[in-house]
């Protein structure tokens, strides 16, 4: 599977968003049904819980051409499985620290807690993240050259 690259001259980042089924995925729905707009460059991948996101998923997304990866989960304390997002929080903190340590731009990864009721927050978060990543430009450091066209 290849995340399609926009070949227009103007840089449009490719964003992968891992969204928890119980909150932010519904938040995205709400954003949609409330007719809130956010750029269409976000590819949402639904996961059962933010702690389902294996660091490999994030690296794979970058490998295949993502310019930014965002993980959205339930607010701490609100996890459908009680504690999943607490574990995710530690894992992602460490992983992001490592990516930074390896010289990968730290703004390319983000974790955001978005509940099912926060459609507006979802849209705003995505717009903001896209802005940040757009400023950074194309992800060149964590990319598999074989996947380049």
């Amino acid at each position: 599977m290849q995340i399609e690259e926009n070949k227009n001259e103007e840089f449009k980042p490719c964003i992968v968003a891992f969204c928890c089924n119980w909150c932010s995925y519904a938040g995205a729905d709400l954003a949609g049904s409330s007719r809130l707009t956010y750029p269409a460059d976000v590819k949402i991948i639904r996961v059962p819980c933010s702690c389902r996101v294996n660091p490999l998923f994030i690296l794979r997304a970058f490998q295949r051409g993502a310019d930014g990866v965002i993980i959205c989960g339930c607010h701490p304390g609100d996890c459908h499985y009680t504690t999943g997002n607490y574990y995710a929080r530690r894992r992602m903190t460490l992983l992001f620290g490592m990516l930074d340590y390896l010289g990968i731009e730290r703004e390319r990864t983000r974790v955001e807690w978005v509940s099912a009721a926060e459609g507006a927050k979802f849209a705003a978060t995505m717009s903001d993240f896209i802005d940040t990543v757009t400023k950074l430009g194309r992800n060149r450091k964590l990319r598999d050259l074989r996947c380049k066209e």
Partner: protein
């Protein structure tokens, strides 16, 4: 014989690389490898062996074989160009020269591997005689003379001069093209003295006395069933270090990689030490590390000679001796099974 002052080596390298790409032992970031020469490269001709052997130039650790494109149900196969740019490898030790002969027996036997062949044809190999063998060396037991390396051109670094002697047509051609950097060596006594000296040193090296008779004179199944294997393999971690630093190991894997816009089929080095090497949907014929460990050495010391006129698939370069994380190696295997004279 020709010669050139050792402080003018850069001149030689730049003359060679004017016409062809030049690869030679390079020191980089705490490691060494055969790499392309440019004025900035840190050449190291004192290091006896690079970590990866020059086999990487003929049989790269990873190599694209072909590309597939799928359109609907249609598949098209796209293969890379067969022609390879001519290149020169400089500073290949006698053991590594021999290892390329071993690889030739595998890849140039029918059916010929054209990927290897094209690079092999494009290469001119310039060897460099050893002046300071180390304790891990045992090329002599395979009949290799470290002081008289084969290849297209042989060279010696002795007494601040590089002595140069073309041995084949390819070597003559290369010499002709860069003739101007050399002077005629009237006196080659420095080379002779070095040869004498190094031969005496080799006599004294701890592994020089290893004996291969056991592997020559015993039945394959007797060696295979030897009880010694039980003890030998014990510490083996099952990593692939020995395989990947080995100049003669030639096993490979073929894999497909979906790039999202076509499929690349590539091959890469593989190791018989890995548990998934022989794993099938239906089971695993080599169930423990013992079998895998035994396979590697049986192949080098017994199976390969059986198929190749008694030629061993080890050249005594000592890389596995130096690099094994737990210091197991072929020398230990030869000694444990076969003993010494």
């Amino acid at each position: 014989m020709l010669r050139l002052s050792a402080d003018k080596l850069d001149k030689l390298f730049s003359a060679i690389s004017d016409a062809k790409e030049l690869y030679l032992p390079v020191e980089e970031n705490g490691s060494s490898k055969f790499d392309k020469w440019s004025e900035e490269t840190q050449v190291n001709l004192n290091r006896l062996n690079t970590v990866k052997s020059p086999k990487d130039l003929f049989f790269p650790q990873s190599e694209d074989l072909m590309r597939f494109k799928k359109e609907g149900k249609k598949i098209t196969v796209d293969t890379p160009d067969e022609n390879c740019k001519e290149f020169v490898v400089f500073g290949v030790r006698a053991c590594d020269v021999k290892s390329i002969e071993v690889l030739d027996r595998v890849f140039l036997s029918e059916p010929v591997d054209t990927y290897y062949e094209s690079k092999r044809k494009a290469a001119t190999i310039v060897s460099l005689a050893c002046s300071e063998p180390e304790e891990s060396c045992f090329c002599n037991i395979f009949g290799i003379d470290a002081t008289e390396p084969a290849a297209d051109v042989s060279t010696w670094l002795a007494d601040d001069y590089l002595y140069w002697e073309a041995k084949t047509e390819k070597g003559e051609a290369l010499t002709e093209s860069i003739k101007s950097v050399f002077e005629q060596a009237e006196d080659t006594s420095a080379v002779d003295a070095q040869k004498e000296n190094v031969k005496a040193i080799i006599e004294k090296l701890p592994l020089s006395g290893l004996n291969l008779d056991y592997f020559k004179n015993n039945d394959m199944m007797d060696i295979f069933n030897s009880e010694k294997w039980d003890e030998l393999y014990e510490a083996c971690l099952g990593c692939g270090t020995c395989t990947f630093v080995c100049p003669t190991c030639q096993c490979y894997d073929i894999r497909d990689y979906d790039t999202g816009h076509g499929i690349v089929r590539y091959r890469c080095w593989d190791s018989c030490m890995y548990s998934d090497f022989t794993l099938m949907a239906g089971g695993q014929p080599r169930t423990t590390q013992k079998e895998r460990f035994r396979q590697r050495f049986m192949h080098k010391l017994v199976y390969f000679p059986m198929n190749n006129d008694g030629e061993f698939s080890c050249v005594g370069c000592g890389r596995c001796v130096n690099k094994c994380p737990v210091r197991l190696n072929i020398a230990k295997v030869i000694r444990a099974l076969g003993g010494e004279v």
